[in-house]
């Protein structure tokens, strides 16, 4: 298209870059933050009201005292057990142990498409970029690609690498950020082409490969375990936004 705005990632010509290599483009749906915050768990669940009227995207990291782990760490978790979180149309519910530190992000973007209540438009200051077909002056937040009033999740580092796992392997990345950053991490086993996310157990390889990860103020760490020797590829995203 020859209108709107595009911002490419480092190393890509904005005029020819694929969408996957653009940081910003008119029409994109980014993870725009509706609410974010940190808390120390006093009682479980900690309930954070969002009152969006639909189930929005969310991310939660928990400090259990041994690194900051993404929600769900430890698998083997039920809906209402420590280390998990769930969201409904009004609240984010976080289950962690008393004294644990928690960082949460609730995004405007709903978990799925479909009719959503109109979100009030924000103030007419800063920079707003509306999606195709919406007047930038009146577009609500879901009709906008970008709004400078809102934080959006930013990726500070990402990379992919391959490792031999002889039943255990510790993957370390120094992130060089001044915070303990949020992250997402994915893995593949033995070149299968199937990629799993954090906390999953690869049940296809027959080697029960599992990846648990956490961040500190200096590193992203992933502990990989398997029942047999294998090759594991790891793709990580370290965020510019903090996890605690």
């Amino acid at each position: 298209m020859d209108y709107g705005i595009k911002v490419s990632e480092d190393g890509f010509d904005v005029k020819t870059a694929d969408d996957k290599n653009l940081s910003l483009k008119t029409g994109f749906s980014l993870l725009n933050v509706c609410q974010e915050g940190s808390l120390t768990v006093n009682e479980t669940p900690e309930v954070i009201s969002h009152n969006l009227g639909y189930q929005p995207q969310f991310l939660v990291w928990v400090d259990e005292g041994s690194g900051i782990k993404i929600d769900g760490t430890g698998l083997a978790t039920g809906m209402d057990t420590f280390g998990t979180a769930f969201i409904n149309t009004s609240d984010l519910n976080i289950y962690a142990e008393d004294g644990d530190g928690v960082r949460y992000y609730i995004f405007y973007e709903p978990l799925t498409t479909g009719s959503s209540p109109v979100i009030p438009s924000t103030n007419n200051i800063g920079i707003k970029i509306s999606k195709d077909g919406y007047d930038v002056k009146t577009a609500n937040i879901l009709q906008q690609t970008f709004n400078s009033e809102k934080n959006s999740i930013k990726i500070a580092l990402s990379d992919i690498s391959s490792h031999t796992v002889n039943t255990t392997y510790n993957f370390l990345v120094s992130h060089g950020l001044n915070t303990t950053p949020g992250y997402l991490i994915f893995f593949e086993v033995d070149g299968s082409g199937k990629w799993w996310s954090e906390n999953e157990i690869d049940t296809l390889s027959g080697k029960n490969v599992k990846l648990n990860s956490w961040t500190t103020s200096s590193q992203l760490v992933a502990s990989v375990t398997s029942t047999a020797s294998c090759t594991v590829k790891i793709k990580y995203y370290v965020l510019a936004d903090p996890a605690i």
Partner: protein, 296 residues
């Protein structure tokens, strides 16, 4: 700080000094860009529990899958599991996002009561009925033996579905270990079979229609494991069966060659067990997000 590109700070922060989290946007950083979202229901009993969602990106994308196993509008990030088992998982390749559910399989093991007279019985042709131990086979005098065992507090509701039931008979008595024993296995066709040391002798009680013939050579100190799924199913489908009732089995010799008898006698009651494996379908609503971001 890079001195090219674009940075946009959030309200209240000087763009020249703002930390990364104080920026609404910076061309220094990549972003997560949503490609596609959708929703549905995954059921471990349907299509092998596998949902396949084409994404048409021709590369492996980053993704998030949220699942609601309670189907009450509460979504957590996959995987979803319990007690070490991953019931709902998600993974992606260059063609599809996959959401997989497996059934919740649980095993319950029941052992004989220490009141051996209530839980074991045998009938010896020509000698009579005795509570307190079971035996089966054909002794050296060519007298057939019939056995019975009873388990209490069975955790199955009336007509509840289950995968398998296996009766494990512990052979601590093998008087004539020179060949296989043959037996026919029935369930005791009663809603809540009474203790074996009162009322109708266990070996004379009504038998289930379901029966199986078994033949095996078992050394002393080993288990004889036999499938009693059909027998258990028939009993718990009886009109007045209810949760925590007692269940019994009887096994008659089936023309074993003389001189071959197995049993559990002399006050021993350990090891013999009934193992019931139940399977509960995993059903969950899911919502997925596929990003434009390329994993590989």
């Amino acid at each position: 700080m890079i001195d090219f590109g674009i940075k946009i700070s959030r309200p209240g922060f000087d763009v020249n000094t703002a930390t990364p989290e104080q920026l609404a946007f910076s061309s220094k950083y990549k972003t997560f860009k949503i490609h596609e979202r959708g929703n549905g229901t995954v059921n471990s009993s349907v299509s092998s529990g596998l949902i396949t969602i084409p994404h048409n990106l021709d590369y492996v994308p980053a993704f998030l899958v949220h699942v609601d196993p309670s189907q009450t509008g509460r979504y957590c990030i996959a995987p979803y599991g319990s007690s070490g088992t991953q019931f709902i998982s998600a993974y992606a390749d260059s063609s599809n996002l996959y959401i997989k559910a497996i059934a919740d399989t649980s095993s319950n093991v029941y052992y004989l009561s220490s009141s051996v007279n209530e839980s074991m019985a045998r009938e010896i042709e020509g000698a009579g009925y005795f509570a307190g131990g079971w035996s089966v086979g054909n002794d050296s005098s060519d007298y057939y033996r019939y056995g019975a065992v009873r388990f209490t507090s069975i955790g199955l509701n009336k007509a509840e579905s289950f995968l398998t039931a296996t009766l494990g008979l512990y052979v601590d008595y093998n008087q004539y270990s020179n060949g296989p024993v043959k037996m026919t296995m029935w369930g005791i066709d009663e809603d809540n079979t009474a203790a074996f040391n009162s009322g109708t002798p266990a070996t004379a009680r009504a038998k289930t229609t379901a029966s199986d013939n078994y033949e095996a050579t078992i050394s002393q100190g080993n288990m004889w494991n036999v499938d009693v799924t059909d027998q258990v199913s028939e009993i718990i489908n009886r009109g007045s069966w209810s949760l925590n009732n007692a269940i019994g089995f009887m096994f008659w010799d089936n023309a074993t060659t003389a001189g071959r008898v197995y049993g559990q006698l002399n006050g021993s009651y350990s090891n013999t067990n009934l193992t019931i494996i139940k399977s509960t379908a995993t059903v969950a609503d899911y919502k997925y997000t596929i990003f434009k971001n390329q994993l590989v």
